[in-house]
């Protein structure tokens, strides 16, 4: 447990930093404030709980190295989201290559939903993510950001680092494959 004095010093320092607008740029504070947010995005994009830890670690390593380049402390959250999307996309591609050579274990997405989900919701999410494994990585990321993460189309484009038209095209591409799969089912 923290001693009250140490706690007080930390609060005072944090308060001073916040006053100067730099608190959210402190790497330690950055992690404590945004780790859960980054983990949630990574979980939704990757679908595997066991991949989340490595992704969060990689994102915050990039953050530790690059946080000094951020001018606007308010933009940290969006910047972390973009980094997370980039890292997740890279991991999805690596996963696909491993799968091509038979080195990646087949994903079972039965643990994608939390304990509060109904059996129907759990089944739906498991099916959706199983189909997404066959969708190209860029299209998968765009679709997940739009329909699972619930982002606006403009934000999807910004997070993916592409134009609005490209984002729409990628989402539509994923849609088609999902439609086919669910229609056949």
């Amino acid at each position: 447990m923290r001693s009250s004095r140490a706690e007080l010093e930390m609060v005072q320092r944090r308060s001073a930093q916040e006053h100067a607008g730099t608190a959210s740029l402190d790497p330690d504070y950055l992690f404590r404030s945004h780790a859960r947010y980054v983990a949630a995005i990574a979980h939704r994009l990757l679908g595997r709980d066991q991949d989340v830890d490595d992704t969060v670690q990689e994102v915050f390593l990039i953050a530790v190295r690059g946080h000094s380049s951020i001018r606007d402390a308010q933009a940290v959250r969006g910047w972390l989201a973009r980094v997370t999307v980039r890292v997740a996309r890279r991991r999805l591609r690596a996963r696909r290559i491993r799968g091509f050579f038979g080195l990646d274990e087949a994903s079972a997405y039965d643990r994608i939903a939390d304990g509060a989900a109904s059996p129907e919701q759990r089944a739906l999410l498991t099916q959706v993510y199983a189909v997404l494994d066959r969708v190209p990585c860029d299209a998968r990321v765009a679709w997940v950001l739009r329909h699972v993460e619930g982002e606006r189309l403009e934000d999807v484009a910004r997070l993916c680092g592409c134009s609005l038209a490209t984002a729409k095209r990628r989402i539509a591409q994923a849609e088609r494959l999902l439609d086919e799969a669910f229609t056949h089912d």
Binding site: M1, R2, S3, A6, M10, R13, D26, P27, D28, F31, R32, A35, R36, A39, A40, A42, H43, R44, D49, V52, D53, V56, Q57, F60, L61, V64, R65, I112, A113, D114, A116, A117, Q121, R122, L124, L125, V128, H147, V148, E149, G150, L178, D179, F182
Partner: protein, 371 residues
């Protein structure tokens, strides 16, 4: 929006990772550790680039004055103006008008130069991957990250350490100087046998009279043969010939190494770097037990922890060693690393509760790690 999209939208709030405080701490710890590992890589690259720039500058200057780069670098500047500045901020300044420096050599992992006469001040940025050596007469001063002065007046060498530590070697003699210490040695002739231990005054003001006045003290155990053996393995160790040094040391027995922290640390280096980490542990334990008598005890405890953790796979004992390293110098340069390594060791030993407590302590003590 189709029925499918509506169902997905209703389910998305349930797509959450199983995020716990324990998991967050674990990842935070991994980030801190990985960030620490990556830092030296960048520092090493920057240092290499700086060295290359300095070497180019020296070559250019040498050709301009019609001499080779490594041959002469004599004083051409006003006193106290930096004669040499490395890009990492390390600087060499002359202290006397008659100061002469020569034989500057800059390679990626070492910088060396010779003080021919006079006095110079060296402000060296800590860099464990680069050796910085100053030769003065027949003595060698090896920098361990520090600010210090070297003066050579005739046969008399005087080394004063303002900040950090340096190692002074002359023939078989060797001494590590800490901040605030000064050493005066006669250095022109290399002694045929080890001379008396140098005086180590507590303050620069006391040093000069003590250094020359202190009589030689020789223990009954140190026979001439033992002296020769001792100097042999040490010379080999200093020349990084650890296998040969280990053979000599193991023949005479590690127990014969005296209770001097410098000797014990060097012998431990010989053992572990020649591939015998098991032999290093008793030496490091002895150095650790010097405790309050020697500032290097903390370094010994930290090294012991590393050997136990990395070479011998004994994380529980390693945790204890790192704990001692931290306790010996809680405000020292190794304190943060010691505490971090203790947490790592406790985790590896399966003592997760203890690791959690230590992690709390770490966060309290170092709220901004690595800064």
């Amino acid at each position: 929006m189709t029925d499918f999209h509506t169902r997905v939208a209703e389910s998305r709030e349930h797509v959450q990772p199983r995020w716990t405080c324990e998991r967050e701490r674990e990842i935070h710890f991994r980030v801190l550790r990985a960030a620490e590992r990556r830092k030296p890589r960048f520092v090493r690259r920057a240092a290499l680039l700086c060295m290359a720039l300095v070497a180019c500058a020296v070559l250019w200057q040498g050709s301009r004055f019609g001499s080779t780069a490594s041959a002469r670098l004599e004083r051409l500047r006003p006193m106290n103006a930096p004669l040499l500045v490395l890009a990492d901020g390390s600087a060499v300044r002359v202290k006397q008008p008659e100061t002469r420096l020569s034989n500057l050599r800059v390679v990626p992992d070492s910088v060396s130069l010779e003080l021919v006469t006079g006095a110079a001040r060296f402000e060296i940025a800590p860099n464990p991957r680069r050796h910085f050596q100053v030769r003065a007469g027949t003595a060698t001063v090896t920098v361990l990250g520090t600010v210090f002065e070297v003066a050579l007046r005739g046969d008399e060498l005087q080394v004063t350490v303002e900040r950090g530590r340096v190692r002074v070697e002359h023939g078989a003699r060797e001494h590590v100087l800490d901040a605030g210490e000064q050493l005066t040695w006669s250095v022109r002739a290399v002694p045929s046998k080890p001379p008396p231990a140098p005086a180590l005054p507590e303050s620069p003001a006391q040093d000069a009279r003590r250094a020359s006045a202190k009589p030689a003290v020789k223990t009954a155990r140190e026979t001439p043969a033992a002296d020769a053996r001792k100097s042999d393995w040490r010379e080999l160790a200093v020349r990084k010939q650890y296998d040969a040094a280990y053979e000599l040391l193991s023949a005479s027995g590690f127990a014969a190494v005296g209770n001097d922290a410098g000797d014990l640390l060097l012998a431990a280096d010989v053992a572990r770097l020649s591939g015998h980490p098991m032999d290093a542990t008793p030496l490091l334990q002895r150095a650790t037990q010097l405790g309050a008598h020697d500032a290097r005890a903390g370094l010994a405890a930290f090294t012991l922890g590393r050997v136990l953790l990395e070479d011998l796979g004994q994380p529980a004992r390693a945790a204890s060693a790192f704990r001692k390293a931290y306790a010996l110098a809680p405000r020292g340069p190794l304190a943060e690393n010691a505490l971090r390594r203790e947490i790592e060791s406790l985790r590896k030993a399966g003592q997760h509760d203890a690791a959690e407590l230590k992690l709390d302590e770490y966060r309290r003590r170092f709220p901004s790690p690595g800064r």
